[in-house]
């Protein structure tokens, strides 16, 4: 009877202590940035340079996520204000260390500011990961995969191909989410000021990640024995050049030179001809090569839908490499197509089904114009400006926006000339590689 009684007391005491005992104790340790694999694999015989890269990152960005340093001239709030758990006193952000909440009565008392880091941990980290590498614990269950910020590449921007997004591009993504993906809308969950703090932190992570990549590039071509290699000045230059790209973005926004063409039937039909590559004058575009003649996203330049479904959704997400290896053995031609159907991050890619009326980058005519005119960074969607005149892009915009409401627009449409029918893409060996070349060269 005695031991049993004891056990009961333990249960009761545990239940009473539970609310008070919440802590990070179950975590493996304090949060740490994930390093690029290259820093280990490429530097096996260069321990000095490897150490220099690590030291440079720690010096300019902080050793760990909870010790944030912001490089000067990065355009982010100086000293990292609002990036982490700083304390707001009146209007000024006073302390760098975390100060626990104190009972407050007036605005001059210290108020804890959650900060970009705190908000990111709460809302974003479980998908985008501690380092912004898109490797959070829920990420493997998602398609499309969450963005890895460390390349400094963002898909949906208002700036030219390859350029950084503006703050308002990131703001739009956070506020309204990306439809058709797992990125939800955060407008109702955070205040305007909080969203700005999250943007700061995302830019910080991207800046850090891209600087890491540039430092690795620089170090891998440097001489291990050279004491001047990766000197302080070089490191600063590298970080500054990344930061400058972010600052330049704001002035690079592409505003359409002409306003939207009236979405009349004639304009929609002109858009349809452009989409199918049937236009008789001007530069041709081959939207249908990727998006398919019915615009359901099954063009011959991409791997067939069944193959894609099997690899991406056909089982345990972490066993995808095995399914790809299987494809390589069973169907080498489809495997060739598979390799060209990946984005810059190495993730599988699918052209949009334009009949569904779901537009990841936004549905405003301006958004669609940007997608067509300047493409999607990191994906296969190329830029079409100035290949296409703005008026023609607007015709395409009008066509794309009208298509979900007029499903018969593309009924029975075929790919022009010798492009093979979409269904047989996986097996149509002789023409498949041709059409890849055509699809990419022509676009």
């Amino acid at each position: 009877m005695r031991p049993r009684l004891c056990r009961m007391w333990v249960v009761w005491a545990g239940a009473a202590l539970l609310p008070a005992g919440c802590s990070d104790a179950f975590n493996a340790g304090p949060p740490r940035y994930v390093e690029q694999e290259r820093l280990t694999t490429d530097f096996k015989d260069k321990p000095v340079l490897q150490g220099k890269v690590r030291a440079a990152l720690a010096k300019h960005f902080g050793d760990a996520p909870n010790e944030i340093k912001v490089p000067e001239g990065s355009g982010l709030p100086l000293g990292g204000a609002y990036l982490a758990n700083y304390v707001k006193q009146g209007d000024a952000v006073k302390s760098i260390a975390y100060v626990p909440a104190t009972p407050t009565s007036g605005s001059s008392d210290p108020q804890p500011v959650e900060g970009g880091y705190g908000l990111y941990r709460k809302h974003c980290l479980h998908c985008h990961g501690v380092s912004g590498a898109g490797d959070g614990p829920t990420s493997s269950f998602l398609y499309p995969r969450p963005r890895d910020y460390r390349k400094g590449l963002f898909k949906f921007t208002s700036t030219p191909t390859g350029a950084k997004p503006t703050r308002s591009d990131l703001r739009k993504t956070i506020e309204y989410g990306l439809h058709g993906t797992s990125m939800p809308a955060f407008e109702a969950l955070m205040s305007k000021a909080e969203i700005e703090q999250v943007i700061d932190y995302v830019i910080f992570l991207s800046l850090r990640g891209e600087s890491e990549l540039s430092l690795i590039d620089e170090a891998s071509t440097s001489d291990e024995k050279d004491p001047e290699a990766l000197s302080e000045d070089v490191v600063k230059d590298i970080i500054q050049s990344v930061a400058k790209k972010w600052q330049a973005a704001e002035s690079l926004v592409m505003n359409p030179p002409t306003p939207r063409v009236e979405p009349t039937h004639a304009s929609v039909m002109r858009g349809r001809e452009l989409f199918l590559g049937l236009n008789k004058t001007g530069n041709k575009v081959e939207c249908a090569g990727c998006h398919g003649p019915q615009a359901v996203g099954n063009g011959p330049t991409f791997v067939a839908q069944e193959v894609f479904n099997h690899i991406v959704f056909g089982g345990n997400p972490s066993a995808m490499p095995e399914r790809v290896a299987e494809l390589e053995k069973s169907d080498p031609k489809a495997y060739e197509l598979w390799k060209t159907s990946l984005d810059e991050w190495g993730n599988p890619l699918r052209p949009a089904n334009l009949n569904r009326g779901i537009y990841k980058g936004g549905r405003r005519p301006l958004d669609i114009y940007w997608r067509i005119a300047k493409g999607i960074n990191g994906a296969k969607m190329p830029s079409h400006f100035p290949t296409l005149e703005p008026d023609k892009i607007w015709d395409l915009v009008n066509f794309v926006l009208e298509l979900p409401y007029e499903p018969k627009l593309l009924e029975g449409a075929k790919l022009p000339e010798a492009l093979p029918a979409a269904k047989t893409a996986g097996n149509a060996a002789p023409t498949a590689s041709e059409s890849i070349a055509r699809g990419q060269g022509g676009l």
Binding site: H123, T138, Y176, P184, V253, N255, R363, R364, Y405
Partner: protein
Amino acid sequence: MRNWSLLFAAAAVASVLAFVYAPFSQEWWLPNASDNYWHVASSYGNQIDHLFILILIITGVVFIGTQVVFVYAAHKFPDAPGRVAKYIHGSQRLEVIWTIIPAAILVFIALYQMGTWADIKFRSAMPKVQPLAEITGRQFQWMMRYPGPDGRLHTDDDLFLVNDLHFVKGKPTLIYLRSADVLHSFYLPELRLKQDAVPGLTIPVWFDSDRAGKLELVCAELCGWGHYKMRGNVTIHDTQAEFDEWMTGKMREQSVDQLVSAQGSKGN
């Protein structure tokens, strides 16, 4: 160990006191209008509250009764050295009684609430109005599709918003509720409305509010790891004109084809 019964008694008394205190606290009681916390903003809110309170009273009485018997038994018959537990096979009469009484209570509640159910959920009771919007739950947000100026859904002037519900004070409002993936539940606590969104079904749902202001829309069905972030803003406009003005503004935002600031700088 007779004293254990005192702990159980204290827990029961604390629970009962919490329920007695609840109606006097705005934080604890049902969410109501900010200017008068006895007032429910929706027209069927009182019917729902009536059922809530009736069920609270029934369960309260049962709770007090069972706790009294439980504490009494624990206090009266603690373990004692030398006493041996007695085995009985059971009592058919007792079993029949404790089956019939709860069954009768459940049948009573089932019959009693039928009128309320019919008033709120039956399609014949739905207000004969054009739907305000088609709302689709997905992991993890509420996607809202308003019919736009022509008043018809699924035409090319539809307005698409996320987590942003707007309607007009005092007007019965109808929405079509859908789900894109798993079960969600459309929950407006202040208006006493909760309706599951079921994949494959389009469910008409109606509600109204006699107060203008801002509320919160939440998901009330655990729908996945991001369930907690499935929240929306609700704005109840004072007049139709105010709503129309909001809608016109949003339609303009959705049809933007130029950046205004950039256009300005170009003109200079």
